[in-house]
Every structure is written in C-alpha cells, then in structure tokens.
C-alpha cells in the first residue's frame, strides 16, 4: 500500500531514523512527512524552548527529533512553533489530512484521521522506518464493518459518549481485523471534530482504522487550510472526494446498529474502555457478567479502581480532572467544557484540574474567545499543548490511588500514572465533575 501522508512524533521515530541511517537510506518522499513533538514534552512554561525541558531523557528524545528532521529535511513543528500540538490534532487542523489519503503514524490513534474519509491507522516503529524508506507498507486487507449509529444525541450527550457506548457494546476486540465505517443519522449530525473523536477511539474497539464518508460539512471544514489544495486543484479534488463514498449496494463483512436516542452521558468504571456505564447508573458487580472470565476480569478491575458494586456512579469522589488528549482537546471540546464551567468554581477537594489544548492554534483560538479566562477563573490550570496526562509521559500525572475524570481514551492500569485510576468521560462531563468534585451528570448543570 502506497502511503500519502506520514505523521511523526518524538517517541516512536528515533529508532526508525537510526535504522535509516545505519542502512544509508534516505526518505523516499520527504514532503509526505510531517513531524511535531507531543508525547513526552512538558505542558508548563515553554519560554526556554527545548533547553527548558527538565527531564533529561525526554529532552534527548526531543533533540533527537529536532536533529532527524533537520538532517532528513522533514517539515517539523517544533516546541516553539505556534502550530505544534498533538499529531492527530495538528494534521487535520493544517489540512494535511485529506479525503482518500492513506495516512499512517507511529501511534494507534491515527484512526482519528478516518473522519476525513481517509484510510488511516497506527503502525510500529519498524513500519515507520519502512514508510520513510519506501513510501509503502506491506498490508493485509482488513475486513469491513459497518456501524450505523441511528437516532439523535440529547442535550449533554456528545460524540465521546457515543463512542464509549459503542465500545461498551462491541467490546475492546469487537472490531479486530476490521476497518469500521461509521454511518447513520447520528454520525451525519456530528461536527467534523465530533467525528474525529469517534474515529479516534476505533482502536479501543479493536479496529486499526475507522472512517466516515465525505459530505459538504467536511469539504467546508477543509477549505483554505494551509496544506489543502487551492484554486482549480481544490475543485478537482472536491469532485474526486465525493466519488469515494460507499456504494448503496456495498456489502460489509459485519454490520451493527446502535441507537443513541435517549443515551445518557457515559463513564468508564474499570480498566479497559469497554467497562462503561451510564452516569446515572451504579457500579456493576462481577456477578452481572454471565461469562466467568469476564466476571474475574471485572473483579480485578473493581479492586484496582477501588470501587464497590452498587455505588452510585455520580457520587464517586475525584482527585483530578483532565481535559485534553487527541480524543478531546479541540476548540469545540473546550467550548463545551467552558459552557459548563462559566461562573462556577472547581471543587476544593480536587488536587488538580487541567485544560491542555490540542495545539498551539487551538490554544490561541480559545484565548481569543476568552475561554482561558473562564477556565482560570474557575480554578483550572491552562496549559501548553501536548499529550499530557493522557499517557503521563511528562510530569502531568496521577499519583498512586488518585482518581481522575479524564477526556482521554484509555483507562488501563497505570495509564495516567502508576496506580492511578481513570474514568473516561466527555469534556462536558469532565467539566461538570470538576465543579462537583465527583463524577457528575452534566445534564443537571446545563
């Protein structure tokens, strides 16, 4: 498979560049590559640039990417570039993600770009090197999985709730070996950013890639973005993009329908992203699971999470709240969160409440709209862009036993810090939870 766009970041690329150098190879097509730093960088003050990174090992990793991009002449948004940010926020924002493209990146959340009708998936470091050297990947064709999301989302219920409800339905391996195509009324109604949230978490359902067809909303979103085609080329591209949509008579290997009418805000309670309940429900008991294996897994998760079956979800007390990550750090996410926060204060019991915009441009836009003031006045910390507490490679993290409402994508053991406890939620739910100090039903606060 020929690769049209290759996105790079500091964590999964150094060994690939090293391999390239050892074999005396050059990138096949330099301009297909776009790099930025996001995973391991601090989200605090950046005025000293790379030299301000306290963690010596992380600093070396960032310097390594700086050097590799310079040596191989790869376009790079470095730490001080206003366009720097989470790679899956940056690509779409720049128009570097276009319909019909094949897109890869050494990061499993590359599925995000499927919201643009692109075939996009995560790869390992060996494959990063392979793409750099050959512009191609050896692939096996995946199966097709149509997931129709019917119905309409109610107030206080968002794309994040939709995708959490879906993973709850199909399980974390429900779409292994498949590429998902999301269809249906609820998907059509979503904004492009909402669609990115949905496609982003395809991997949490086991699918390397998840995609959505082309419509006017998408074309409008892309127009005039820096990397998008201009003039006659734009018109030619748009005409082509509309030919990409699935034929009416298309046959899928699998189909599934989820009706989201009346869906409550969703919250994860366990240690994998299929362990999800309604915000107005109670924590399940191992005996609720018919399969003995699942009951055992549930018991272990409950113990790790420090939860008791039957507890009301919206009474669970929190230590931290994190709004950010490639799932939910775009301008619309911040707008939704700010609506809940406006005129309110973060609960005093919280040890930290963090807003980490997805990119420098998202941050700037939010500041122009005064959202930063709303958050800061409420007691949130307003940070610099990066992956931050989604995977806690930097200092933004949970300490043992701490509990967090997080807009990120994974609630695995230790994901947000050694022995930390994660509850995955939407930005609005995270905002409501920060105000209450417990997991909270945002519908009561709109």
């Amino acid at each position: 498979m020929y690769i049209d766009r290759h996105l790079l970041h500091e964590v999964t690329s150094p060994q690939a560049f090293e391999g390239l150098k050892l074999a005396h190879r050059q990138p096949w097509r330099r301009t297909s590559n776009l790099a930025t730093v996001d995973h391991a960088i601090p989200t605090t003050d950046r005025s000293n640039g790379v030299s301000g990174i306290q963690d010596a090992i992380a600093k070396e990793q960032v310097i390594t990417l700086d050097q590799n991009c310079r040596e191989f002449q790869i376009e790079y948004f470095d730490l001080l570039d206003a366009r720097q940010g989470i790679v899956h926020v940056v690509g779409p924002e720049q128009g570097a993600t276009l319909p019909g493209m094949t897109i890869v990146c050494g990061d499993s959340h590359t599925s995000t770009h499927g919201a643009f009708g692109a075939l996009a998936h995560g790869i390992g470091t060996s494959e990063v090197e392979h793409v750099l050297a050959t512009q191609c990947l050896v692939q096996q064709k995946s199966k097709n999985f149509e997931i129709e999301i019917s119905g309409e989302l109610g107030p206080g219920v968002y794309a994040k709730d939709l995708i959490l409800a879906l993973i709850r339905l199909i399980g974390t391996a429900g779409a292994t070996g498949h590429t998902i195509e999301y269809t249906g009324r609820a998907i059509e109604d979503l904004s492009i950013e909402g669609r990115m949230t949905v496609c982003n978490m395809s991997i949490e359902g086991g699918a390397r890639a998840g995609l959505i067809g082309i419509d006017d909303k998408l074309v409008e979103y892309l127009e005039a973005r820096p990397f998008a085609p201009k003039g006659a080329l734009w018109n030619q591209a748009v005409d082509y993009w509309f030919t990409l949509n699935t034929d009416d008579a298309a046959i899928y290997d699998q189909r599934r329908v989820l009706d989201v009418s009346g869906l409550s805000p969703q919250v994860s309670w366990g240690t994998n992203p299929e362990m999800v309940v309604d915000i107005d429900a109670t924590i399940p008991a191992p005996t609720d699971f018919s399969d003995a294996n699942n009951a055992e897994v549930a018991e272990r998760s409950l113990s790790y999470m420090g939860l008791t079956p039957g507890m009301a979800v919206n009474e669970i007390q929190l230590d931290k709240v994190f709004i950010g990550s490639c799932t939910n750090s775009r301008i619309e996410d911040l707008r939704e969160a700010s609506k809940v926060v406006k005129g309110r204060k973060v609960a005093s019991r919280l040890k930290g409440a963090y807003i980490v915009p997805g990119s420098g441009l998202v941050k700037r836009q939010a500041e122009q709209e005064g959202l930063d003031e709303v958050f800061k006045n409420a007691g949130f910390e307003w940070r610099e862009p990066g992956c931050s507490m989604c995977l806690a490679m930097n200092d933004d993290r949970l300490y043992p036993g701490e509990r967090c409402a997080s807009t990120s994508n994974r609630n695995f053991e230790g994901r947000q810090g050694h022995q930390g406890r994660t509850h995955l939620v939407s930005p609005a739910t995270a905002a409501a939870s920060a105000i209450r100090g417990t997991l909270a039903d945002v519908r009561e606060m709109l």
Binding site: I57, S108, T134, Q135, V138, A173, I203, Q236, M393, Q419
Partner: protein, 216 residues
C-alpha cells in the same frame, strides 16, 4: 542482497510461563516511562514493570522491589521463553517497544487465543512468533502450565505444530508470507525496495490523477 533483520525462527523449545489475564495491553507490557528511550534495547528488565515490581520503575532504576505474586517471578518459570496468554493480547498503543521488551526478556513465542492487530504486526517485524490457538486448547495449556513442574512446549514453525511435555499436541495457522519472513529474517525494506520501479511507476500515475496529494 537481502540482510537478516533479526534471529530467524524455525524451531524452538522452552518453558512456558502462564499469564492468566485477558486484554493485556501494551501499557502493561512496557509502561510509558520507558518509551522515552531513543534506543531499541534495554527494555527486557522492564517487561510488565508495574506487575513485576512493587515500586514504580523508571529508566535506569535498580534495586527494585520484586512482586512475588506475579507469575514471572515464580521460581518455576525463571527460564521461560514462551508466554501463554489470554484473548486480545497486546491491545492498546502501537508501541513496538512492547515487542522489544518481550524479546529482550527472553520470550521467543506467545500462545494466545487472539491478538490485537498492531501488536501482531509488530511481532513479525522483530522475530517474535505470536501463535493463535483455540480458546479450549489454551485452557488445556494453562492447566498443564500451572502444575508444580513447569511445562515445556516445542514449537515447529515449518510444520506449524506445537507439542507440550504433557502430551498436548496441535497445529496452528499462520499467513505464509509472515511465516516465511520469520524463518528467513529478511529485511522487509530491502524486499520492498526490490520493487522500486513499480513504486515509482505507481507514484507517477498517482501524481497525475491526484496532483493535490503532492506538494513537491
């Protein structure tokens, strides 16, 4: 010339360590703090770090507190080179460091009912053999592996068979290209570059049809 990218896999016999957990994710296989390394080596010490040790690990940290409850620390399995696991092994992040950590610990082969796609792919790029076996067979292997004297399994990739010291024997399926790759250890990049002309021809046509994809 095609060079070898990793030690080839033909036949392997080793002690099996049973990791009785479903959905083992790559964050557990190698936690995030070890991903800051720019090297491809040194991950074996930190395989399953937060399960293997009681204290929080970091790059270069020594004097760790062993968690005696974790199966990898069980004296029976100290020499293990085959990992027995449950369904959806390797889910989550695409970090190839997970495969490096498993190999560098000394594991050459994983036996499980199913794997996450990216982990499965990454395995073949490094010489790790992930074998998919029916759930019922995996259950039987678990029963044998937890006995007081450890189970040994012989894996024959050419024949696509496994046989245990306790007499469990089975065949397994594997894609022919992937099998060939493990048995020869070929450098995938060199192989692809043998098709350089084809790639160039495709690229030319692609550029003509969709010029907006090319900024150069």
């Amino acid at each position: 010339m095609v060079s070898t990218a990793f030690p080839v896999f033909t036949r392997h016999t080793g002690i099996v360590v049973p990791l009785d957990r479903a959905n083992v994710d790559t964050d557990q296989i190698i936690p995030k703090q070890f991903l800051k390394s720019i090297k491809k080596t040194g991950f074996g010490e930190n395989l399953f770090d937060s399960w293997r040790y009681q204290d929080e690990g970091n790059i270069g940290k020594t004097d760790r507190i062993i968690n005696p409850e974790f199966v990898l620390n069980d004296p029976r399995y100290q020499e293990a080179s085959i990992l027995l696991a449950r369904r959806n092994f390797g889910c989550g992040s695409s970090r190839e460091h997970a495969v490096w950590a498993i190999l560098q610990y000394g594991i050459r082969c994983v036996l499980a009912p199913s794997y996450a796609d990216i982990f499965y792919n990454n395995s073949f790029n490094n010489g790790l053999l992930p074998i998919e076996l029916e759930e019922a067979l995996i259950d039987r292997l678990f029963r044998e592996a937890i006995q007081p004297s450890p189970m040994t399994v012989e894996v024959d990739l050419a024949q696509q068979t496994i046989s245990s010291s306790g007499g469990i024997a089975a065949t397994f399926d594997i894609d022919a290209t992937r099998k060939h790759r493990l048995m020869t250890g070929m450098d995938n990049i060199a192989l692809t570059l043998e098709h350089q002309t084809l790639i160039e021809e495709f690229e030319l046509t692609h550029r003509q049809r969709m010029p907006w994809l090319f900024s150069d």
